[in-house]
């Protein structure tokens, strides 16, 4: 440890550095520049504080809180497990933050050079064995605790055994929509997943089998579970167990191309009765209303059938979503717009306007054909 | 800073170009050796990735010829390449002793052995492409085989180019004893290429088949 007198040179240096920057205050331009920068910054700050932010708050969308996909409002067993682990980790890291940031703040205040400083150098401390050992050991112990907690939840979620009663759903990711199949039930749909709810003691988890037809996607509905990727040439698996009925929103969480942003997910948890009803409806063949036969012809004779399937027609394309029960869904284009006849019409006429870059081409139908087609499609409940 | 203090405390280096800490200890690592070692480390990392890809894709072909069906052990080729490590060592030893003629002789043999290896690889590939129908595009094996062996072959080519340049200087009588260190550094690269071949040979022709 050393307490040493400065060389006179050092004292001069410290004094020099305290002096105002000569060129900044002596010269008029320097002073003016400083003042204008200062004023501009202050103006910006007040603008933001009192105009922009309040405006933003007021203009803020009216949100249905159940639709905010927060990871801290879990409503499914895996999401709960994660949320609890997250809380634990937050508490530990929060404590570390408080201690270390507190010490930093203390040091900044306590050890700042005072105006009356005599210019001597403080005691030189090169290290301390005991201190350094302590602050290595404690973090190491913290890491052990955290890893044990983490390992337990990994196992709990990833290695959960699938109960016999579990529902099996196959999800296949496409650019930019979700193909959803229920292999044991013989149903095919798109973008909106219906599952039974686990309530009142009966556990009805749904196990998802995840694949991709093209590039890497990711299935993420935060309230229900952590995300799992859909990777071509690989089969992944995850499970969800919603505990209330209603809608859970999510979206693709792995950049997959131009319209990654509009590959939205909707998961509907139904009561077992509602779910069975939905399944029964989905199993039926497509409506074949003779009033809209003209529209059905348009479908079957245009290139639509290259990509789309409608059960009971000649259309069995797999590149695009299955349309057999198109109107049983609440949205179109993987959540890009609400499902309505007008929306459907606009979508078919120019998909690229609503979802630029989408792989569905504008079919360039004349208005009459388009009307007939829409009339037909809107019967497909 | 006070010039007087500077001269008394900071001792001058008496005009030598470099004065390193290691001069106190007695051994100065050669810049060329360290630099080449760094290059070898980086190249090893690149080769490791190609080897990993090769091993990962073993047995995963959906169609097309498999290693066992089409690969033959390139024994002669390998003996040639690996002996060239010995011959380059002989060449270097001769150079250090100042024997320019012997250096030139062994250097030429090294180049010949390396060139024979390349020819052999070329012949092997010709056979694989035209007789066995295996190309880079055929299947995963084709992809990983040609890229790994090709990456190695390209390093042999670069090595031969460098060796040939030295050969040209040697013919002109310009390579002398004082250049031994630089030749040694080039030799390190050549040894590296040979070691990589041992790895590639083991992975492709022994483990892979």
């Amino acid at each position: 440890m050393k307490n040493l007198p400065n060389s006179s040179q050092q004292v001069d240096l410290i004094r020099c550095l305290d002096a105002k920057d000569v060129w900044m205050t002596d010269s008029r331009t320097g002073a003016r520049l400083t003042r204008s920068v200062g004023r501009a910054s202050l103006l910006l700050f007040w603008l933001v504080a009192f105009i922009v932010i309040p405006e933003g708050v007021l203009a803020a969308e009216k949100t249905d809180p159940t639709l905010v996909p927060s990871i801290f409002t879990p409503e499914s067993a895996p999401a709960h497990a994660i949320s609890h682990l997250a809380g634990f980790v937050l508490v530990v890291t929060g404590a570390i933050f408080v201690v270390v940031a507190g010490l930093l703040l203390y040091a900044v205040v306590r050890f700042r050079r005072r105006a009356y400083d005599d210019g001597t150098e403080p005691p030189q401390v090169y290290g301390s064995g005991p201190v350094e050992t302590a602050w290595t050991t404690v973090p190491f112990l913290i890491v052990i605790v955290l890893t044990l907690a983490t390992a337990r939840v990994i196992q709990e979620v990833q290695d959960a055994r699938k109960p016999v009663a579990a529902l099996d759903v196959q999800v296949i990711g496409h650019q930019w929509w979700w193909e959803i199949r229920y292999p044991k039930l013989g149903i095919v749909t798109a973008n909106e997943l219906h599952v039974p709810v686990s309530q009142a003691g009966t556990r009805l988890p749904t196990f998802l089998d995840l694949r991709s037809a093209d590039v890497v996607h990711s299935f993420w509905v935060p309230r229900l579970a952590g995300k799992t990727d859909l990777i071509p040439n690989k089969v992944n698996s995850m499970w969800i167990e919603p505990e209330r009925t209603g809608l859970f929103v999510g979206q693709c969480a792995k950049y997959c191309g131009t319209q990654h942003a509009k590959m939205l997910l909707r998961v509907y948890a139904d009561t077992p009765e509602d779910f069975d009803r939905w399944v029964a409806e989905q199993k039926k063949l497509a409506e074949n209303n003779p009033d809209v036969a003209a529209g059905r012809l348009v479908f079957e004779r245009t290139a639509c059938i290259n990509c789309h399937a409608i059960n009971g027609t000649v259309g069995d394309g797999r590149f695009g979503p299955d349309l057999t029960h198109l109107m049983s869904r609440n949205t179109l284009a993987s959540g890009a717009l609400t499902n309505s006849p007008e929306g459907l019409r606009t979508w078919i006429k120019s998909p690229d306007k609503l979802k630029p870059g989408v792989l569905m081409p504008a079919m360039n139908l004349n208005d009459s054909d388009l009307d007939k087609l829409v009339a037909y499609l809107t019967t497909l409940k | 800073m006070n010039a007087a203090i500077a001269t008394t405390y900071l001792e001058s280096d008496t005009g030598r170009v470099t004065s390193t800490a290691a001069a106190d200890a007695g051994t100065v690592p050669s810049k060329g050796v360290i630099g080449m070692t760094c290059l070898i480390i980086a190249e090893s990392a690149i080769f490791t990735i190609f080897v990993v890809a090769y091993l990962y894709y073993l047995g995963k072909d959906l169609s097309g010829p498999t290693p066992r069906q089409v690969l033959e052990l390139p024994i002669v080729n390998s003996i040639c390449l690996l002996s060239s490590s010995a011959t380059i060592t002989f060449a270097l030893r001769s150079l250090r002793k100042g024997n320019a003629k012997k250096f030139g002789f062994w250097w030429l043999i090294t180049i010949a052995l390396g060139a024979y290896f390349l020819l052999g690889t070329g012949r092997e590939w010709h056979h694989l492409i035209h007789d066995q129908g295996l190309t880079l595009q055929t299947n995963l094996f084709g992809t990983t085989f040609y890229s790994l062996v090709g990456l190695h072959a390209s390093h042999v080519v670069v090595g031969l180019l460098a060796l040939s340049i030295v050969m040209a200087f040697a013919f002109a009588g310009s390579v002398k004893r004082e250049h031994a260190e630089r030749v040694h550094v080039l030799g390190l690269y050549w040894h590296f290429v040979d070691v990589v071949w041992i790895v590639v040979f083991t992975v492709v022709y022994i483990i892979g088949r």
Partner: protein, 565 residues
């Protein structure tokens, strides 16, 4: 005079400064910079290159944030947005981060170890110009013709360019090829420069400077360059494979032919994770030089700092798959990578304690370099802690690929790295130019940037927690993300102003800054013993040192460091 003096030629006693330059025309000046092999000039060029692209990538970020300020915005098309976030990330890592750290290493390492230049000066220049060419090639893509969707050819596959999105089938046109080639060329430059710096440090230290007496900056750069050798190569290899896939029809990542998408991920992240440690290590180096000087104390625990850096280097090679927790690895693999990731947090955390220990009991002078360094400590602490959160794999299953991750890594790369780069500029600008930067402007720069940084990146954690994924060009109203995105965007304005003040400071101080003299900060390492700016040959006489702080020994002859080390 300058023309006659080449690195390595010592003809007896030499004058101590090089200000007596003959009158040069502008062309001569530019020419001397273009053909230079001097580490100082190359270092400064690297830094100017990095700062230029910092502004460019910053503008890209401004555009991105404008688009995301409100839900369902139509300011940018999705195609352009996707190009912008790809280019923003790619630029910041490869054309800002790498050049800046190599620039500082280039400039400082020889000066701090008492050498006259790097080991291979011409290789140094070659590496620099490779980086420049790579950068220009990457940016040429914006105008280089039809791309995937016709909107110019800038890469739009994300900075980590996952397969098979980058395959010929899904990435038509040449956008991905520009990404591959631009970076690969720069990568060769990085490997060359890393080898150069390692050789310099191992072979060219001045007499008396054993490895144990080397400044921490030299140690950390040595380790950083070692990591570059091992980590950049996997990226080069993967890019060669991708090029083969795209041009000659090989199947490395061609999933339609049995290739593997996850293989690209493994290869990329084996590069990508050590890469971010490569980027942050120099920030540690700067902190380890600046904090002691402005605390008036030696660095606390030098041997442990070296050991911790080595530990970081080794362990960081084993954590890469924490970027891949969601791809469906086995629970064993997930657990392994969770453990290794948390373990690497220990040597990293220790460093924070060591810097704190350096400040403890000192006499803290809050000039601009120290302001930035203190903010660095606070922000790096937070970054490390959010990193621990992300290391807990199940937590990661929620947070991965969300705005929480973006907030985390911007805390590291901006909050820690950029802040320390600012600190380093304020600290060493006087040495490089002979003039001090304005303290007043410095403080304005600091506070504006600090406010903006926290407004943006503290807030950014929230949309992540609320389920907002990354790389989306717009988002639904009704998910509760709008207000937070707005605040994030507003914070950018402060950072822009702060950066403007910084650039102004540099430009004005170059002309009117106070003369700095040799040692304006009263520091202790060798670069402060020579003139500001140093002569081309760095030192009149190569010094001999006896301790880690040679100038301390001179200034305190009655109580030199070497008695205590």
């Amino acid at each position: 005079m300058n023309g006659a003096i080449r690195t390595g030629d010592l003809g007896g006693a030499l004058p101590l400064d090089s200000t007596a330059e003959t009158e040069k025309s502008v062309f001569d000046s530019i020419h001397s910079w273009l053909v230079t092999v001097d580490h100082k000039k190359l270092g400064l060029m690297y830094i100017m290159f990095g700062l230029f692209f910092f502004v460019v990538a910053g503008l890209e970020a401004c555009l991105i944030r404008t688009q995301l300020a409100i839900p369902n915005n139509h300011f940018l098309s999705p195609q352009l947005f996707n190009q912008l976030f790809t280019m923003h990330g790619t630029t910041m890592v490869f054309l800002v981060g790498m050049p800046l750290i190599f620039g500082f290493a280039n400039y400082l390492v020889p000066l701090m170890i008492g050498a006259r230049d790097l080991a291979f000066p011409r290789l140094n220049a070659f590496g620099f110009w490779l980086s420049v060419f790579g950068g220009l090639l990457l940016y040429f893509s914006f105008i280089g013709g039809e791309g995937m969707t016709g909107a110019g050819s800038a890469p739009d596959v994300g900075w980590f360019a996952y397969a098979p999105l980058t395959g010929k089938a899904f990435s038509k046109g040449h956008s991905t090829d520009y990404w591959i080639l631009g970076i690969m060329i720069g990568g060769f430059g990085s490997i060359a420069t890393a080898a150069n710096i390692i050789t310099t440090i191992l072979c060219m230290r001045c007499r008396g400077m054993t490895l144990a007496k080397m400044p921490l900056l030299a140690w950390i750069n040595l380790i950083m360059c070692g990591m570059v050798l091992i980590a950049v190569s996997p990226l080069t290899a993967a890019q060669i494979m991708l090029l083969l896939d795209r041009f000659v029809g090989s199947h490395f990542f061609d999933t339609q032919a049995g290739g593997s998408a996850t293989l690209w991920m493994h290869f990329f992240w084996i590069f990508g994770h050590p890469e971010v440690y490569v980027l942050i290590l120099p920030a540690f180096a700067f902190a380890s030089e600046i904090i002691p000087v402005f605390s008036r104390k030696a660095i606390f625990g030098y041997p442990v700092m070296v050991g911790a850096t080595l530990a970081i280097a080794f362990v960081s090679l084993s954590v890469w798959a924490h970027h891949m927790f969601t791809i469906g690895m086995t629970s064993t693999s997930n657990t392994f990578f969770a453990i290794s990731t948390m373990l690497v947090g220990i040597p990293t955390g220790i460093k924070i304690f060591n810097w704190l220990g350096t400040m403890w009991g000192g006499k803290l002078r809050f000039d601009t370099p120290m302001l930035f360094s203190t903010a660095f400590l606070f922000q790096f602490l937070i970054a490390g802690l959010t990193g621990i959160m992300l290391a807990a794999a199940p937590f990661n299953w929620q947070l991965n690929d969300s705005y929480f991750v973006i907030a985390h890594f911007h805390f590291v790369l901006v909050g820690a790295l950029v802040f320390m780069i600012f600190a380093a500029v304020y600290y060493w600008f006087p040495k490089a130019t002979g003039r001090l930067l304005s303290e007043r402007f410095g403080k304005w720069h600091f506070w504006l940037f600090l406010i903006g940084f926290h407004m943006t990146f503290d807030t950014m954690h929230i949309p992540g927690i609320l389920g907002m994924p990354r790389r989306i060009y717009t988002y639904e109203a009704g998910r509760g993300w709008g207000i937070w995105n707005l605040i994030v965007t507003v914070g950018v304005a402060f950072q822009v102003f702060g950066t403007l003040v910084f650039v102004l400071n540099i430009l004005l101080s170059l002309r009117k800054g106070r003369p700095a003299g040799k040692d304006p900060w009263d520091a202790w390492t060798l670069e402060w013993s020579t003139t500001s700016p140093p002569p081309e040959y760095n030192f009149a006489q190569i010094p001999t040192v006896k301790s880690r702080r040679p100038l301390w020994d001179i200034k305190h002859p009655s109580d030199p460091d070497w008695r205590y080390e």
